[in-house]
């Protein structure tokens, strides 16, 4: 521990603390902007500069370590004046479109101005007209960029994608893809981790709200919505509910109030995914154990950011991916076939909307292959944040909504589907089903949670030895299944490099594109709670445990679907509706061009 004095107050802090951290321990807040706890500290904005006795210059408190005996002043005239000048520099060429900006009242730049006491700043500069870079998932407005570089850290250090970086220098510095190409042209995975950390309106999801409103207002269309598991663990935050509040029932109610004709649950799609993916896994492993040449490890394909990443970075490893579509695309395809037939509506008159915690799902829904006989699986994807905006603009009192349920026949789900939204969840769901199919018994873990793959470490591994395999699965008897789970593309890079090198020991790998899984996806509410991942994950695990049915294949409506319509898992119709194919790309889509 070290002792220092901040604003005359004696403060004790652990060794290695920054001035900012030490001040916080002493109850002193220092304004920051570019700083993002545990993620990003590069001292770019200098707003957190403080006076340190003996130092010639003001010191950036977010990066400078406190030392024993340090004397700091965070509120001297020198400091306050510098902050105000800096804030002035930051906002004078920033577009004054706050009232119409998507980040209005949810903008860190705005908030900083308020904190600093709305400083005077020099005359408004000429602000160039917007030149938006609109990709299917992410929209960039570089005029609103304050060059804090949080997105650069998210993309390069956290995700190790390297799609955006600073270009040019000095005043002409811009954050953009190489050579200022559009985001869509390069290796951007559309994961949206940059959007989540952006303090202003420079990086936003490409808005699809208007598309949805137009559909809802079209009397010709039957508008059918579904919501992903992670949405229910985070949407409440947009309405000031505590982080981690489960709002499943209110979500269903709100969607109905918005005017959707049917309110389905992506969870149902998740259960179907497990049946399809589990069957695929079992057949691959069976062949593998029998000595056939099949590609293992198999890797999950639910996360579109991850899928795009492997297409760019490891195009030769695509055969490892499961051929399953992601749950919402499966459900979209089922709505426009199974359900359309049931209600006798022309699928062309059905408009499917997915509410997703994810920006990449927008892009995914627009992939050429995401259709069945020319009919798009999903017509529009909105993020959790966009849904919150819709609910607010519709005047719905979300917090006081009466509880409601999802609609039959695509609304019932198992607990396994809920945990699709958190890292390790897809793996756990798949193993609950696979183990049960092989042995007829539930997976031998307390509360059905495979403990080693629960949590937020980058790479988690587990080994499960199969005992008591049924006669038709005798190859599996005594086999130790090796599995790995990762969330965030940095971890995926590690596991894929092992596969490339031929050293991967695993049978099955789960990859979620965002660190922590969908609960922390690029479309989720921005949280200031340091433990938001843990809290949202807990909500999903609670949701799972609250259900009677805990394994996907036990979902009676899923069983009915196969019996009535699809036939066998991985059968002909299932393949047509629920499976997809991938495109090798290379860094700049060069393989596409060939």
């Amino acid at each position: 521990m070290i002792n220092l004095k901040i604003n005359g107050k004696a403060i004790t802090a652990p060794e290695g603390s920054t001035i900012l951290e030490a001040a916080k321990l002493g109850g002193i807040n220092i304004p920051t902007l570019c700083y993002l706890k545990d993620v990003h500290k590069v001292g770019a904005c200098r707003v957190c500069a403080v006076e340190v006795e003996g130092a010639r210059n003001l010191q950036a408190s977010c990066i400078v370590k406190a030392w024993d005996g340090m004397v700091v002043n965070t509120n001297s005239k020198r400091v306050r004046d510098a902050r105000r000048v800096l804030y002035g520099l930051m906002v004078e060429d920033h577009p004054k479109e706050c009232m119409t900006c998507v980040r209005n009242q949810n903008c860190e730049l705005q908030e900083l101005g308020y904190t600093l006491g709305t400083p005077d700043c020099a005359a408004t500069k000429m602000i160039p007209p917007a030149q938006l870079d609109i990709s299917p998932s992410i929209t960039r407005d570089t005029r609103k960029c304050i060059l804090c570089r949080r997105c650069v850290t998210a993309c390069n250090q956290i995700q190790q994608v390297g799609a955006i970086f600073s270009q040019n220098r000095g005043y002409d510095t811009k954050i953009s893809p190489a050579m200022e190409l559009p985001l869509e042209d390069g290796n951007c995975t559309m994961c949206g981790q940059c959007v989540v950390v952006c303090p202003t309106g420079a990086l936003t999801e490409t808005a699809d709200v208007d598309k949805v409103w137009n559909a809802l207002n079209d009397p010709e269309l039957r508008v059918i919505v579904q919501a992903a598991p992670a949405v229910r663990a985070a949407l409440g935050e947009c309405f000031d509910l505590p982080v981690g509040t489960r709002v499943t029932a209110k979500l269903a109610a709100a969607l109905r109030e918005l005017g959707f004709d049917d309110v389905f649950d992506t969870n149902f799609g998740a259960d179907v995914t497990i049946v399809e993916e589990g069957t695929e896994l079992l057949s691959r492993l069976k062949a593998h154990l029998e000595g056939d040449k099949v590609v293992v490890p198999m890797i999950t394909s639910c996360s579109p950011g991850w899928v795009k990443h492997i297409e760019h970075e490891f195009p030769d490893q695509l055969p490892h991916l499961s051929s399953c579509k992601s749950p919402h695309c499966m459900l979209g395809a089922l709505v426009k076939s199974y359900y359309a037939k049931k209600i006798n509506v022309d699928p062309k008159k059905i408009f499917t909307v997915s509410v997703m915690p994810c920006t990449a799902k927008k892009y995914e829904s627009q992939r050429e292959v995401m259709n069945v006989d020319g009919i798009r699986d999903v017509d529009a994807v909105i993020t959790t944040r966009e849904l919150a905006r819709m609910i607010k603009s519709a005047g719905i009192d979300f917090v006081n909504l009466p509880d409601a349920e999802f609609d039959y026949p695509l609304g019932l789900s198992s607990g396994a589907a809920d945990i699709f939204g958190v890292t390790g969840g897809v793996m756990e769901a798949a193993l609950r089903t696979a183990y049960s199919i092989i042995t007829g018994n539930p997976i031998p873990f307390t509360n059905l949670h495979i403990a080693p793959i629960v949590g937020f470490e980058t790479i988690k591994t587990a080994e499960i030895t199969i005992k008591g395999a049924k006669p038709e699965y005798k190859q599996f008897e005594g086999i130790t299944l090796k599995i790995a789970v990762t969330s965030g593309l940095a971890g995926a890079n590690v596991l894929l490099k092992e596969i490339e090198a031929g050293t991967s020991p695993y049978h099955f790998i789960e990859v979620m594109g965002c660190p922590g899984g969908c609960i922390a996806g690029g479309g989720q509410p921005r949280s200031k709670d340091a433990d938001f991942r843990e809290k949202r994950a807990k909500a999903l695990y609670n949701e799972d445990e609250s259900k009677k049915i805990r394994a996907s294949h036990e979902n009676p409506d899923v069983q009915k679907l196969y019996k009535e319509y699809l036939g066998e898992p991985n059968g002909h119709l299932a393949h047509k509706l629920l499976h997809t194919s991938y495109t090798p790309r290379g860094k700049f889509n060069e393989r596409l061009k060939k």
């Binding site: 001292g43 500069a49 020198r78 800096l86 060059l147 220098r169 510095t173």
Partner: protein, 620 residues
């Protein structure tokens, strides 16, 4: 032929002796400057002419041509020095060379017409030892520059080259080198002035098996070319110093970071490294010891900020050239995360000489805490523009007048910018300041890396501040807000002022912005970028006020503030001015007085030039 490998001190001594003997029989040595300045004034033609004439006259055994590095008087190149006579010829051409061979080398009489003319006495001074420019200098870092052939390792060895390395290995050992350096008082010549011995000691003490030496040759100050001259003129001295550094701190690998704009330096450095490797001086088991070391040249893309040590490290690593937050300092976590010592070229150039001749000898030059000498690049409105090395403590007046020869065209001295764009200006009142780290800082300027830009009475200091700010803004890396945006705002205000659009609050705003940038920018570049504004505001505030309040440029530089006026009485209405005006700013009827629309006038002066009746005048 297999190259002789040097593995002992005796080998070095043999080479030294053999080299000297091989030159004994020549009657005269002709040194032709092959520095960058003289290359551009075509010294190659002089060498070619020499070789041709000497071959024609069959005098190969008598006269020996040496192509050297920079002799220093760059404005008067190509330079030729005849030894042992000690005669300097300036602005030599192929024809003049032939005449010098005939009359001086063969005939024995100096061709006075081609020798240096003293600007004050207007008399020829043939003897280099009698020219103030040379006689007042003390050459330590430049000891071999302009004297020995830059491309010959034997010549370097003959001038005690690589003897420092031998001394370090055989006598001083690692701790000994640090002691000598500390005692010498040598400080970093890149600008910051950090004691070199302390720096090496921190590298020596840093824990780890992998360490690096880095030579900062990314000299970027406008008008500065000290490091370039040393790298081009004496590359082996820097190689030897890097080896000494590597030995002392425990590094096996060193990097030279040289900017791409210095292709000659890169070429000569690479050739010298190859030569040293061929002689066994770089590589495994140097001079028979267990010390192994090798060097690699990395070329910088010319961003000014890459001269900042942490940005330089990023650049070597292949990353964007942006500074890293210090601490950790490079000696703790430097190149590729390993302890790294970074020295500037000039600092390194001093070190072998200090090791051979001793700390006491070096510390006998200089003053106070500023020991030894400093190399300066004299530029601007100065007669003897070029490279000089002076003992620290010399008066600025001596540097400008005795060595620099005063202002060109006999004009009055107005200011000198010391330390480049990060430095500050000094006025005529400061001419008696001692040139050393402490005295210059006390005046608001800095020693910097050694750029000295002299400005005469026709310089507008507001415009000069604008120039430096333009440079600072252009070279800002864009990482931190104050430097990226603040310098832009300062530049905009200065641009406005020199266009006559300044407003009363501008001075206050400039001062506030400058102080905030100095106080909050991340790296040295940003923290010092406003210095030219702050010092000109301090010493030439009246010029700012004249621009802002009176819309007048006292130095008559700022075009926008000129006003061309037609004297109604003198104008006869000949219309010639109106016909020639490129912007149709002049109106008036034939035989009636004409009138200039000041809004439309672009101040080109054509009207005044064309008027046959002296009716047009310019008002500043």
């Amino acid at each position: 032929m297999s190259q002789l490998k040097i593995s002992t001190l005796a080998d070095l001594e043999n080479i030294k002796r053999a080299f000297k003997e091989s030159k004994q029989n020549y009657k005269k040595t002709v040194r032709v400057c092959g520095g960058a300045g003289c290359i551009s004034s075509d010294c190659a033609a002089v060498s070619t002419a020499f070789n041709k004439v000497v071959a024609e006259r069959k005098l190969e055994g008598e006269f020996y041509l040496v192509e050297t590095g920079c002799i220093g008087m760059c404005a008067l190149g190509p330079l030729v020095v005849i030894e042992p006579d000690g005669v300097l010829y300036v602005k030599v051409t192929a024809e003049k060379m032939e005449e010098i061979i005939d009359k001086h080398l063969i005939g024995g009489s100096v061709v006075e017409a081609y020798t240096y003319v003293d600007p004050r006495s207007n008399k020829h001074i043939p003897q280099i030892s009698e020219i103030d420019f040379f006689s007042k200098q003390v050459k330590i870092a430049l000891r071999n520059c302009g004297r020995i052939p830059y491309g010959s390792i034997e010549a370097y060895i003959a001038n005690d080259g690589y003897f420092a390395m031998a001394k370090a290995l055989n006598e001083l050992k690692r701790e000994g080198v640090i002691e000598v350096l500390k005692a010498s008082g040598l400080r970093g010549r890149g600008g910051a002035g950090f004691p070199a011995g302390v720096k090496w000691e921190s590298g020596y003490k840093a824990k780890g098996d992998i360490k690096y030496m880095v030579c900062n040759g990314d000299e970027g100050d406008p008008g500065a070319f000290m490091d370039r001259s040393i790298l081009e003129g004496d590359p082996h001295s820097i190689i030897e110093a890097m080896m000494l550094g590597g030995y002392t701190i425990g590094a096996k690998k060193g990097y030279f970071y040289v900017r791409a704009e210095y292709p000659v330096a890169v070429e000569r450095l690479n050739a010298a490294i190859d030569e040293a490797r061929a002689f066994g001086l770089l590589g495994e088991n140097i001079l028979g010891s267990d010390f192994s070391f090798d060097l690699e040249v990395r070329i910088g893309a010319g961003a000014f900020v890459c001269g900042e040590e942490t940005a330089l490290l990023n650049s070597i690593e292949g990353k964007r050239g942006e500074p890293r937050q210090k601490p950790p300092f490079p000696f703790q976590r430097g190149l590729f995360g390993y302890p790294t010592i970074i020295n500037n070229v000039e600092t390194l150039a001093n070190i072998p000489a200090i090791i051979v001749k001793g700390a006491e000898w070096y510390a006998s030059y200089g003053v106070g805490k500023s020991k030894g000498t400093k190399v300066f690049a004299l530029a601007g409105d100065i007669v003897n523009a070029g490279i000089v090395e002076i003992p620290m403590g010399m008066k600025m007046r001596e540097v400008i007048y005795d060595i620099g020869g005063g202002m060109t065209g006999g004009k009055a001295f107005k200011a000198v910018q010391s330390g480049g764009p990060s430095g500050g200006c000094l006025t005529a009142d400061h001419l008696d300041v001692s040139v050393d780290y402490e005295s210059l800082s006390a005046m608001g300027a800095i020693m910097g890396s050694g750029g000295l830009i002299a400005m005469d009475e026709n310089t507008c200091l507001v415009d000069t501040a604008r120039y430096f700010m333009e440079f600072g803004q252009d070279e800002s890396c864009g990482h931190c807000l104050p430097c990226r945006v603040g310098t832009k705002r300062i530049l905009e205000i200065l641009q406005r002022i020199v266009r006559g659009k300044g407003v009363a609050e501008d001075i206050e705003t400039l001062s506030t912005l400058s102080k905030t940038i100095c106080d909050t920018a991340m790296c040295g570049l940003g923290q010092t970028a406003p210095n030219p504004v702050l010092t000109t505001l301090k010493y030439f505030r009246d010029e700012y006020e004249a621009h802002i309040h009176d819309k007048r440029c006292p130095a008559h530089v700022c075009t926008a503030l000129k006003r061309y006026l037609i004297d109604e009485k003198a104008c006869v209405g000949c219309t010639i001015c109106a016909k020639n005006c490129p912007t149709n700013a002049i109106s008036g009827s034939v035989k009636k007085p004409h009138f200039i629309d000041q809004e439309a006038c672009i101040r080109c002066g054509v009207c005044m030039e064309k008027c046959k009746f002296n009716a047009i005048s310019v008002q500043y």
